[in-house]
Symmetry: C2
Subunit: 531 residues, 2 copies
């Protein structure tokens, strides 16, 4: 099985993406995860371009990596500089990594317009820079920037730049589609041509501007490239870099190449979430292989077929990349989806009888109001149990008031919540402050209820998301609030919708508490009956 080198540039090219930025701490954590996953090279940053990257390389020396090598990225020397005095080259050496990746120009347009030097001088720059870094004991990876555009404009010159880097000692020559404009058949043809002239290992670095980054990478590998550059989740400038989360399973599960150990591949989905969490970006549901929807079934025909035989509608077993099958409950779904979902939630839907249709209607009505249960299993379970009369009122709200008070332009506002709840015959009237109105309300509600339900101390809110449903009404639009709650061994999601963000949050909060109470108050014997 042919081995492919994985070169991750999430920490460098990935951070060129709009919205993507990592703290030094984040970068160190990601580097460790990439190493554990089995990536071969981790490009940590561009030491010559910003202080945060310098700091990263300083601290990365302390990392104990098991497999991966850290690479520092930078450009070849500047036109007029002597290589040993070039600040960028010196910064690369100061990073003290065993691997250095430098990019040089392959495209005459760039040589003439961006660098404004002669073709010959560009070759000298490439040769000098590679040779000097080699002489300093570095493994050198040469990124041929704009290689495909350069090849199309002047194939002999583009090849000459590669040969120059090869002769100067570069270990791998990486063909970069920097603008992302090259089509798949062109990549295949050009890599095939390059292989005729170059003996060194060939790498591929693509961008997604034509939505072809993954296909272009696969085509290059099929033509003999052995080194693949990309980022987790395809983060990167403009439309992103080649997405390693799609490339790795395609290469390993479909084309028979070896990238990482199979047991590491089963942690791909987790890695993808880890990186999006640290990037503070929501994890895109529709991501191939690792997205929450990648193995989700909504249409009735699909659902009933998948129930018979998963291979009918799934191209791989989701477990191989650490993902899982999901059946969605939605407007389009019929009774078979609800049955499947109920079984998954541990509810015996056989007992539902005539209630089943009512449940379907409830869901349709709620979805019409803006609810979505695809992400809110906790609220869905409560909705179903309520219809099945498997339900207990844990408290009654007699009212709440939330006050946000800002004393002057400079002062931060103070939020406090007053709440009155009734449990059985007892009434509790209390108040609490919080970091914002929803947080205050959450504190007050717990303060009021913990007296009756001490088990609430076991749960906490882990995530809070707000989605404005219809942007056209400005601040008067409907919002959907999704809350993730956790206790020591489980997490659950609940949803609330309203034009008022406090009301929407309230609904999701109450569901999260009801869910916890109904789970924790059910004794084991009882639970067995319900299942």
């Amino acid at each position: 099985m042919k081995r492919i080198q994985l070169y991750d540039t999430t920490l460098r090219d990935g951070t060129q993406g709009e919205d993507v930025s990592f703290s030094v701490e984040d970068k160190l954590r990601i580097a460790q995860r990439l190493d554990a996953f089995g990536v071969d090279y981790i490009e940590g940053g561009w030491p010559g371009s910003n202080p945060r990257d310098l700091e990263f390389f300083r601290r990365a020396r302390q990392l104990r990596l098991h497999h991966a090598k850290i690479a520092a990225f930078g450009s070849t020397r500047r036109a007029k500089n002597r290589v040993e005095e070039d600040l960028n080259i010196l910064a690369l050496l100061d990073a003290e990594t065993s691997v250095v990746t430098i990019f040089g120009k392959s495209w005459i347009l760039h040589v003439k317009q961006a660098l404004q030097i002669s073709e010959e001088e560009n070759l000298e720059i490439i040769s000098d820079s590679v040779a000097y870094l080699k002489s300093q004991g570095r493994e050198v990876i040469y990124d041929a920037e704009h290689f495909f555009d350069g090849f199309k404009s002047d194939r002999s010159y583009a090849l000459q730049t590669l040969k120059t880097a090869e002769a100067a000692g570069a270990e791998v020559l990486v063909l970069c589609d920097t603008n992302g404009g090259t089509l798949t058949h062109e990549v295949a043809e050009i890599v095939r041509e390059v292989k005729k002239h170059i003996k060194s290992e060939i790498g591929i670095h693509t961008h997604n501007d034509c939505e072809l980054a993954v296909a272009n990478t696969l085509a290059a590998v099929q033509e003999g490239a052995v080194h693949v550059q990309g980022t987790i989740n395809g983060y990167g400038e403009r439309c992103g870099n080649a997405n390693l989360c799609s490339i790795i399973p395609n290469l390993q599960l479909k084309l028979g190449y070896k990238c990482v150990e199979d047991e590491h591949l089963r942690r791909l989905t987790e890695l993808s979430h880890f990186v999006s969490d640290l990037a503070n970006l929501s994890h895109r549901k529709h991501l191939p292989f690792v997205g929450q929807s990648a193995f989700a079934h909504k249409g009735g025909v699909h659902v009933s077929a998948v129930m018979k035989s998963p291979a009918t509608y799934e191209h791989i077993e989701p477990e191989r990349v650490g993902n899982q099958r999901r059946v969605l409950v939605s407007d389009l779904s019929g009774r078979s989806n609800i049955s499947y979902k109920s079984a998954e939630l541990g509810i015996d839907i056989e007992r539902a009888g005539e209630h089943l249709q009512e449940i379907v209607e409830d869901i349709k009505q709620k979805e019409f109001e803006g609810y979505r249960y695809e992400d809110a299993d906790g609220s869905l379970e409560l909705l179903i149990r309520r219809r099945l009369n498997d339900w207990q009122e844990f408290f009654d709200l007699e009212g709440f008031k939330v006050i946000i008070h800002k004393e002057s332009k400079e002062e931060k506002p103070v939020s406090e919540a007053l709440i009155k709840v009734r449990v059985g015959d007892e009434c509790e009237h209390t108040a609490a402050e919080g970091n914002g109105p929803v947080n205050a309300l959450d504190h007050a509600l717990r303060k009021a209820l913990e007296k009756f339900y001490p088990q609430l101390k076991e749960m906490h809110l882990a995530d809070y998301k707000v989605r404005v449903l219809d942007g056209q009404d400005g601040t008067g639009a409907k919002v959907r609030v999704l809350i993730t709650s956790r206790n020591s061994d489980a997490s659950w999601n609940t949803v609330g919708v309203s034009t008022d963000i406090i009301e929407a949050s309230w609904k999701a909060l109450v569901d999260s508490i009801y869910y916890h109470l109904s789970r924790s108050s059910v004794g084991k014997a009882e639970a067995a009956v319900i299942r």
Copy 2:
């Protein structure tokens, strides 16, 4: 120039996507836009599957389309039914469209496991169904479901199903990669093989489960397919359908096929936004060709090169698909980005002198706190003008109080805001209600200020977005609020960040008002000086 037929299934397969749903009204509006854009076929829905689709077809008869034909989608007849009594087939006829698209089985696994019939019986079903619809005067498009999987498992049977549909009179035979698991080289080889046996027009329908839907479609066209099925923005089940917004420009601008008129292609970005607006989904920035980031430049090296010559870092001219170039201001950006951006905003940065570095520092500090200016030009302009002393305080806040009061479990909460502002020597203390706390605060602030600045009546809030920045603190997390405001001839975006959603909204609101006031209070002569 070879003509390619575009078959849009946003309204049918697109709505299988998680989160995607359209009202009948939405569907009619989208159909009209697709027609105006130049799509050849618009698949409106599955009349046999849900009432909303029936209603769509009823109302679609009144649409005056200039170019496109509406297609109704459904399955071949059920196994035991006579075709003329099959409810699904009858529903297709009742839709009264000139075109009917039906799918049949190509894969023996499905014939045996899903339908549980013989191979011969499956051929009869295909033949009957196509022939009957033809006899009723319909143009019939035959979708060969799971064709690639079927071909790989039994090529001769898969071809036989196509030949059966062809013999029964189907106009186009569409090869579907229903599970999205087929690789690009396989699609190319299989289409090439099919072309040897089939004379009718071949179509291609792919899914994005391997992140290859666009590449697979292009490969099929290069091997002779003339009919392309896909959706706007790639909406669709699991990882989505083939994205027409990427396929069309690739085919037309790069491969020399003709899909739509060039002047229509220049409205592609607008069409993409229109559909995402109606789907109520945020428009994904990183979408190829049509995304807000598709031609955005962030890294310093790129920005300075693009300023010299756009072709160095852009694979096509953004105007050809109706998009535009953007330069991003961010943490990674240096003085050249700020200069470019300032010029775009009409600020003469030459006057900045020593302030330029302060502006860069301000932006870095704010971004550290969670601000992003990539989407908030209004707030960025205010930040720059403030440092340039090109600034006026329009009012002083003396304090506000927002109260949200919920009287009982059933009642909706009432939000009211009290506000005290000072303009010069005058103080205004007032209050207003609203649909939620932010809306109430917005109303109260305007009520207080309109007395002094009647021009505030010209502006309104058009969009309001909330993003929780760090999910790990639950309801105590930081939120970023983005507000879009409009007057009759412009729109602008402002941003606010805080752990308190009211405070974050307040900051963005105040910026939006300052922006409007500073623009509207500058006389034309003054404006000329500033520029």
